[in-house]
């Protein structure tokens, strides 16, 4: 894994405009940045990222199986009691998952470490699956990349295949996102293209235009009944909305399904560590309440986790990260080193939520930027990656998307 400098495509701005990639620049900064790119070997991709991410997803499913059977764990993960049955039922019915994005720390050597799993509403799908793909084709055609270069990016094809295996041809699938957010919308439309290519009918409505019928079915902006709904809107928010009480009886299949509420949840991380202690792709993690006292000099963890905490106590005291169980784009994240807060997100939207602590694992640094590998899971297997890098140690919404390629 290395970072190389490359010429930008001379017609990049025109190209982005032509395909409707309106957020290639955001907040006055480039978001899509192809002035350099990350290079991987095929072995790094397959052995260190693809294989482990697929395995982590399988471990996650085992964890879900345990969590939904245990109301106490669902409480810890912030699932409202009124909706715990909805979450458990969606798992028992085997409602299918479409996609998710694992954020991994990886520097080209050694095992990648799972930082968190955005398994419910990951964005940057369009730039990962499509714009990045075009970049590779263009740069190979221009001779800036070797002809035999490749990219770990089977995301679009995997999504098409996933829809085909789940739904009969011509199934109508509705897609929804918050109105007027170009970034969210791009992810939804990339998803809808895949569904359409798989032979589905794809229909879009803004989230706030959805309605409920007299019979308790959800309706789209044109009052048509929704049978299957892909929503780029997190379950933790959905479950607190007024319409949440209609979900169970609506007869509507939600994508991602309700059980993703316990996956796209940092409370998953301590449960994974408890089930798979020492796994090379996991960082030690605990619920903050269980070990809060032990993180200050002379304190002790709760007896239930004492045995698990002992081997990693020094690691945690040296450095750990505090994360709210629900948060997006680094919000509410705090880095503590030697008992001192050394870094903290300025976004406090999620501060009201319970927290977990995770052993600190430094991101690698390339030319002053720290990349996070987003490993896309489609169905149950890893299908590609997208990389975002940030100057800061906490990757936030000012991070840049960086293309990658595979060459030996």
């Amino acid at each position: 894994m290395r970072k190389i400098t490359l010429p930008e495509r001379p017609d990049l701005a025109a190209k982005a405009a032509e395909v409707g990639f309106t957020f290639a620049h955001m907040h006055g900064e480039p978001y899509w940045d192809e002035s350099s790119a990350y290079q991987f070997t095929l072995a790094q991709i397959e052995d260190d990222l693809e294989g482990p991410a697929t395995e982590l997803h399988a471990m996650t499913r085992e964890a879900v199986n345990r969590i939904v059977a245990d109301p106490a764990l669902m409480d810890r993960l912030g699932i409202p009691q009124a909706h715990q049955a909805l979450v458990a039922d969606s798992w028992a019915r085997g409602e299918p998952e479409i996609y998710g994005r694992m954020d991994l720390a990886y520097d080209g050597t050694g095992p990648a470490k799972l930082l968190e799993y955005n398994a419910d509403t990951p964005t940057s799908l369009y730039e990962s699956a499509a714009f990045q793909w075009q970049w590779l084709e263009d740069q190979m055609a221009a001779g800036h990349l070797p002809k035999g270069a490749d990219q770990f990016n089977g995301i679009h094809e995997a999504l098409v295949e996933r829809y085909r295996e789940l739904f009969p041809p011509d199934t109508d699938i509705h897609f929804t996102a918050v109105a007027d957010n170009a970034e969210d919308y791009a992810t939804v439309e990339a998803m809808a293209w895949a569904a359409r290519e798989a032979g589905m009918g794809a229909h879009y409505s803004d989230l706030d235009k959805l309605a409920v019928s007299k019979d308790g079915q959800f309706l789209d902006a044109d009052d048509r009944v929704i049978g299957t709904l892909f929503k780029l809107y997190p379950w933790e928010d959905l479950l607190t909305d007024d319409f949440a009480r209609h979900i169970a009886k609506s007869g509507c299949l939600f994508l991602e399904p309700a059980w993703k509420a316990v996956v796209s949840n940092k409370g998953l991380l301590p449960i994974l560590w408890q089930m798979f202690p020492g796994h090379p792709n996991l960082l030690p993690a605990f619920f903050a309440d269980d070990v809060a006292d032990a993180l200050v000099a002379g304190g002790q963890p709760l007896p239930a986790v004492a045995q698990a905490f002992a081997p990693v106590a020094e690691q945690f005291r040296a450095a750990h990260v505090v994360k709210p169980i629900f948060s997006r784009e680094g919000a509410g994240v705090v880095i503590v080193e030697g008992g001192e807060v050394t870094d903290a997100s300025e976004n406090h939207d999620y501060d009201g939520h319970a927290r977990i602590v995770q052993a600190y694992h430094a991101l690698p640094e390339f030319d002053g930027f720290r990349p996070v590998i987003g490993a896309w899971i489609v169905g149950s297997a890893c299908a590609g990656i997208g990389i975002r890098e940030d100057r800061a140690r906490i990757t936030q919404d000012l991070s840049r998307f960086k293309p990658h390629f595979i060459a030996e």
Partner: protein, 195 residues
């Protein structure tokens, strides 16, 4: 082993355009005929198409039949998909040098759309129809099922997508034919052609 997709969807249309593309898909006035004679009879009766358009549409559907009919490597597999007695060899159906070892369904009707004369961009104004395994009819791509090969209806423009060519390619194996699957599911939703 290639690690990236062969194609991707590059364009972000935007909510308004995508919804139109999805829900308000262009509707096409369409009519099905079992044969040329019934089309011409309807034309003289003041139907959707003129006699000249019948000829044009039939020529186009027959060309598509040669180019894009489902092809199978055995009569048995073909009949499994299209019913007994509804298949023949390529040699019998294609005028210039078809193979005796490749089997295609017999042409069982023609679907003509009102876009006749302005079809383009991967669209064809008429489509061949074939028997399906359940006694109804299907198109060349096997994506839509119809109850009848006669009658008139409004349908989505995607029914006139030009089917992928099958001529000159390796015959389909029984495995690929089986994966086509789902016959019947679309027909119910579409309502089909009523007498």
């Amino acid at each position: 082993m290639r690690k990236r997709s062969r194609t991707v969807a590059l364009t972000i249309l935007g909510a308004a355009a995508f919804t139109v593309a999805g829900c308000r898909e262009e509707q096409v006035e369409a009519q099905a005929f079992p044969d040329l004679a019934s089309c011409q009879a309807a034309a003289s009766d003041g139907g959707l198409v003129t006699a000249g358009e019948c000829d044009q549409a039939f020529a186009e559907a027959e060309a598509l039949h040669v180019e894009a009919a489902p092809r199978y490597d055995s009569l048995a597999v073909c009949e499994e998909q299209h019913g007994a007695g509804n298949c023949g060899s390529e040699e019998e159906q294609v005028s210039n040098g078809g193979s005796g070892g490749i089997f295609m369904p017999l042409l069982a009707g023609y679907l003509i759309g009102s876009m006749l004369g302005r079809a383009g961009g991967g669209m064809a104004a008429s489509q061949p129809m074939y028997r399906n395994a359940t006694g109804g009819f299907t198109n060349a791509a096997g994506t839509t099922n119809f109850g009848s090969n006669a009658g008139r209806a409004q349908m989505g423009a995607q029914n006139f997508t030009r089917p992928a060519a099958t001529a000159g390619r390796a015959p389909m194996t029984s495995a690929t034919a089986a994966s086509r699957g789902g016959f019947g599911g679309a027909g119910a939703a579409r309502g089909g052609f009523g007498g």
